[in-house]
């Protein structure tokens, strides 16, 4: 995406300014709920960036990715809540959450090294469910996770004396908690996207691409396939864990319900629809798939305003329309909305 163009070009500066004022505009316009939705979209962007490392870069289908998000979220919840009355500082909790998730990534990667495609997908799906079921049941023999009730009253994210959930005054403006979280999440997404892009174009990224294309030929070219697969799993998981910790602090509450299979599938959809292998694409996918279902929710108000009566309850058809949109995108943009150059070439060849 125009890496050669200066970041100080008018268009880039315009985009940057828009990102800076977006939470203010949303708060003033559609309302505070939308700031929250955009915050969630940014969290999902982090997940999409992480899963893209596994699926898009290295070509390993992972259907249990949300388990790493859960790992990060729960570790944060345990270390910063009333559950054990621990209140660790962010500089300790956040890296630990990311590292534990990375370790879980290795644990998932190691036994699945020989598996590919469907078989890998099934094992990763099982892994995701195992983590969720553990979280659901670890209230006995001693109460670690509080079971299905989840952990509530989690400390908000605090950097020094700055508590993100409390409103603050800046130069005559009052920023709400969700607005402040927006800037934190935006900075994280930008950082992760930058790192992922650097990785993609590094020696490591080339090795991943080779493994994705032909594992045997990659091994024959001198690429240590095993190590690079493990690295992909673990780096992808690290992103998930990091996002999970931020989510726990932002939400103030975690429960196993938030980490079910549907969530894994959703993040995979974001990666595939946005454009596997393209970091900007998967971020776009994440934002679209977070915002679209919420936007469809507003159909009810729209009908009420125009017809004075709700003919079609949005809650009934929301997921139907959403599914239809997914099918249309896949039919007309099979390589994703913003495909990576390699994907685009592949599909151009296949389509007349």
């Amino acid at each position: 995406m125009g890496a050669s163009a200066s970041i100080f070009s008018p268009v880039s500066v315009g985009k940057g300014l828009l990102l800076v004022v977006l939470p203010l505009l949303l708060q003033a316009g559609p309302g505070a709920a939308w700031v929250r939705i955009v915050d969630m979209a940014l969290l999902y962007s982090m997940l999409a960036i992480g899963l893209n490392i596994v699926v898009g870069f290295a070509g390993l289908l992972d259907l249990g990715y949300i388990a790493f998000y859960a790992t990060g979220a729960y570790l944060y919840a345990l270390l910063d809540s009333m559950q054990f009355n621990l209140h660790w500082p962010l500089w300790a909790t956040l890296p630990l959450s990311a590292a534990l998730a990375g370790l879980f990534g290795l644990l998932l990667g190691a036994p699945t090294l020989r598996l590919r495609g469907d078989y890998l997908a099934i094992v990763t799906l099982g892994f995701g469910e195992i983590v969720r079921i553990f979280l659901n049941n670890l209230d006995t023999p001693f109460n670690l996770t509080n079971g299905p009730q989840g952990i509530s009253l989690i400390d908000p994210i605090r950097l020094g004396n700055f508590t993100f959930s409390r409103p603050h005054h800046f130069a005559g403006l009052t920023l709400t908690g969700t607005q402040q979280y927006y800037y934190l999440f935006l900075a994280t997404v930008i950082g992760m996207a930058w790192l992922a892009t650097r990785l993609q174009h590094s020696r490591i990224g080339r090795a991943w691409a080779a493994i994705r294309e032909d594992e045997l030929a990659a091994a024959a070219s001198g690429i240590a396939v095993r190590n690079y697969k493990l690295l992909a799993f673990s780096l992808g998981a690290t992103c998930g864990g990091f996002a999970g910790a931020l989510f726990a602090g932002f939400q103030g509450f975690v429960s196993p319900e938030s980490f079910n299979l549907m969530e894994s599938v959703m993040v995979l959809c974001m990666v595939v629809l946005g454009g596997m292998g393209n970091v900007n694409g998967v971020i776009f996918g994440a934002i679209l798939l977070t915002v679209l279902p919420e936007a469809l929710r507003m159909m009810g108000d729209w009908q009420l305003n125009h017809f004075g009566h709700i003919w079609i309850d949005p809650n009934d058809v929301r997921m139907l329309l959403f599914g239809g949109a997914l099918i249309l995108i896949m039919l007309y943009r099979p390589a994703g909305l913003l495909p990576s150059p390699a994907q685009r070439r592949e599909w151009q060849k296949k389509l007349p």
Binding site: R203, R206, A207, A209, A210, E213, D214, L216, A217, A218, A219, A220, S221, G222, I223, A224, V225, R226, A342, Q343, R345, E346, K349
Partner: protein, 236 residues
């Protein structure tokens, strides 16, 4: 001890023994071809040498070093490169990206660049298509690319698994020309091939393999004139 030496090599898939005690050597600078019917164990043998399959029993030595239980990338560093069956293209990646992946283990980017340019000069079809995805090349072009990619690791020994399978006669000639060129540059060759006549014509020694065993070895010239070989493999 220079070159490759296999001693009583046995390779199993579960209970099935695909290679049943093979002795074979490829001396430094030698070209050896391995011919035989489908299912004789030829591909299995090459994969085991390249470290892609575990060896059940026996020995593999290369220039005095044992290659048993080594990872494929380690074997490549010892100077053995495999051109896999079916070419092993990185289809979505460009010709240039495929070539640079062949030099993955090397640490002298300037020399690699020069060698890649030399490949483009020698094989203009690859040069013209350097930015196209490798999957869009013709079968013959892919095979040439696969061979050149393997040579970029600067191997001492090149293993080739049926490089002319499914190619037009003209491309088959080009493939053998590229092998002759590599050989002149000092690369030893172990070639698995279905086209026995061409394989014998382009090798110093030949081994004939059937059901996991080598049962004839000899100078390629002598085997071309051997009546049993003629009857079984050359269709004369």
């Amino acid at each position: 001890m220079t070159g490759l030496a296999l001693h009583n090599l046995r390779i199993r898939y579960g209970h099935l023994e695909a290679v049943q005690g093979v002795d074979l050597h490829v001396d430094d600078g030698e070209r050896v071809c391995l011919i035989g019917a489908n299912g004789a164990g030829k591909t299995t043998l090459l994969k085991a040498i390249a470290g892609l399959l575990p060896v059940h029993a026996g020995q593999i030595h290369f220039n005095g070093h044992s290659l048993l239980r080594r990872a494929p990338h380690d074997i490549l560093r010892h100077g053995i490169a495999l051109v896999p069956e079916g070419r092993g293209m990185f289809n979505q990646l460009s010709v240039a990206e495929n070539l640079s992946l062949g030099a993955y283990t090397r640490t002298d980017p300037l020399a690699v660049r020069q060698e890649i340019n030399h490949i483009y000069d020698t094989w203009p079809r690859l040069g013209e298509r350097r930015h196209q995805p490798a999957g869009q090349l013709s079968g013959g072009e892919q095979q040439l690319l696969s061979i050149q990619r393997a040579l970029l690791s600067r191997p001492r020994l090149l293993l080739l698994d049926e490089p002319t399978m499914g190619l037009a006669p003209l491309m088959t000639e080009a493939v053998f020309a590229s092998l002759d060129m590599a050989h002149r540059n000092g690369v030893s060759i172990l070639l698995v091939e279905q086209n026995a006549r061409l394989a014998l014509a382009h090798s110093d020694r030949a081994a004939i393999m059937e059901t996991g065993r080598i049962f004839i070895t000899g100078a390629s010239r002598a085997l071309i004139d051997d009546p049993t070989v003629q009857a079984a493999y050359l269709g004369l």
